[in-house]
């Protein structure tokens, strides 16, 4: 009884690797955008750092649900 095995050739290996990288890259980039947005919003509206807090004090008070103090 003979047994036949197939191994992926170089092209399909490369395609699979590219797909995996792309998926990981998209996940990473989406996460990066969300984290960046959250950090920037936090810095602008919720930071206790005096310079930032005082600079954006009036802005916070002019937004419906952004707490100031």
């Amino acid at each position: 009884m003979s047994r036949v095995t197939t191994t992926p050739n170089a092209v399909s290996r490369h395609a699979a690797g590219t797909l995996a990288w792309a998926q990981a890259s998209v996940t990473f980039q989406v996460a990066l955008v969300l984290v960046t947005a959250a950090l920037v919003l936090w810095a602008l509206f919720f930071s206790n750092y005096p310079l930032v807090h005082d600079t954006f004090h009036e802005l916070r008070h002019s937004l419906y649900f952004v707490p100031c103090h």
Binding site: V26, Q29, T36, A37, L39, N48, R60, P67, H69
Partner: protein, 359 residues
């Protein structure tokens, strides 16, 4: 002022009397609270509102000599969407107890946040009857704040949309990484701002007292505690006596001034009690410098003015409130990201196709 009130006032609610001393089919008296401008025209944290409380008999005539205890509660704390003064929510804005020689009390106040304020009143009529009523005042948010938050949410959605589109199409995270680093640097500080400045910001609870003597009248003004704080009442007491220590009769006007903007946020005109004192407890809701200005006028025409500086301690909002608000701000980013990612699919496919054909 009376004409303005008559023209502009809105009847918020008639607090029907509950005469405890005797059972009656018809209420003997009622408490009426009116504001000028009307509730719909009041902008929270901006409008200095004239509030008039009247004790009327069944015929609608003010009852002179009634004694009123007024306790104004701020709107209850919202479960999800906070106001810009979370520490003011569900607290007491002011308390006072005074005699109404003409059956009415008028004061001015800036109401700091949107929502429903409850005016818990307890009135003792000259004949000894006790009335209790809890009229309410409902304020809408400043329309500018509503517009501004919609614009911000729209911008955040646009940011998410653009990001999703770009990720689908190209996928270059460099700019986002740079922004993240900047944001990290900005959030590195742990200090607190917009409170009393400097290391010497008072935090003790001992009252501050200022005394002034003029025209034979000695006026003592006390604010307790010394360091007022957002969310907490500061009790202000004025006592006027002669040089020999005998109480004098008269009126005192009290203005609480927000020094940053140099505008009054409270203004009272109270009669002195028989012992020469007047007292009011009020909440100074902005964590910055304030000044209490007193103007005493005796019944025989003498006048004494004095000022009491009063820093107000502000607090950073609770972390849970910050996180809730941040989550709300992130919603349009997430939605925009999903929409942009989906919208970029055909363009990405076309781009791959053209790259293959070029190769």
């Amino acid at each position: 002022m009376r004409r303005m009130l008559t023209a502009c006032a809105v009847l918020i609610l008639l607090g029907m009397a509950t005469a405890r001393s005797q059972a009656q089919a018809e209420p003997a008296a009622r408490v009426v609270i009116e504001t000028a401008p009307a509730a719909g025209a009041i902008v929270p944290d901006e409008t200095l509102v004239t509030t008039r409380l009247r004790v009327l008999d069944a015929a609608g005539i003010p009852i002179p000599g009634a004694r009123v205890a007024l306790h104004v509660d701020t709107p209850p704390r919202a479960k999800v969407i906070t106001t810009d003064f979370p520490f003011v929510e569900d607290t007491t804005l002011l308390e006072l107890e005074t005699v109404l020689p003409e059956g009415e009390l008028s004061f001015q106040a800036v109401y700091p946040i949107r929502g429903t304020y409850t005016f818990r009143t307890r009135v003792v009529l000259p004949d000894g009857q006790t009335l209790e009523a809890s009229p309410v005042l409902s304020l809408r948010e400043n329309p500018d704040e509503v517009r501004n938050i919609l614009v911000l949410l729209g911008l955040l959605f646009a940011f998410g949309l653009f990001s999703g589109f770009v990720i689908r199409l190209t996928g270059r995270p460099g700019a986002a990484a740079a922004a993240a680093i900047v944001a990290l640097v900005l959030t590195g500080g742990t200090g607190w701002a917009h409170g009393p400045s400097g290391e010497g910001a008072p935090s003790q609870n001992e009252p501050v007292t200022v005394v002034r003597e003029a025209d034979g009248v000695r006026v003592t003004a006390t604010a307790s505690p010394d360091s007022a704080a957002v969310g907490r009442l500061t009790t202000v007491t004025v006592r006027a006596t002669t040089a020999a220590g005998r109480p004098v009769a008269g009126n005192v006007s009290l203005d609480a001034i927000h020094l940053e903007d140099n505008v009054p946020i409270y203004s009272f005109d109270l009669p002195l009690e028989a012992n020469g004192t007047a007292r009011v407890a009020l909440q100074l809701f902005d964590g910055t410098e304030h000044e209490l200005r007193f103007a005493l006028r005796t019944d025989d025409g003498r006048a004494v003015n004095l000022e009491v500086p009063l820093p107000v301690e502000g607090f950073a909002p609770p972390l849970s409130v910050k996180l809730r608000s941040l989550a709300l701000l992130m919603v349009p980013v997430v939605v925009g990201l999903a929409v942009g990612f989906r919208a970029g699919r055909p363009f990405a496919a076309r781009r791959r196709l053209s790259a293959v054909s070029v190769g």
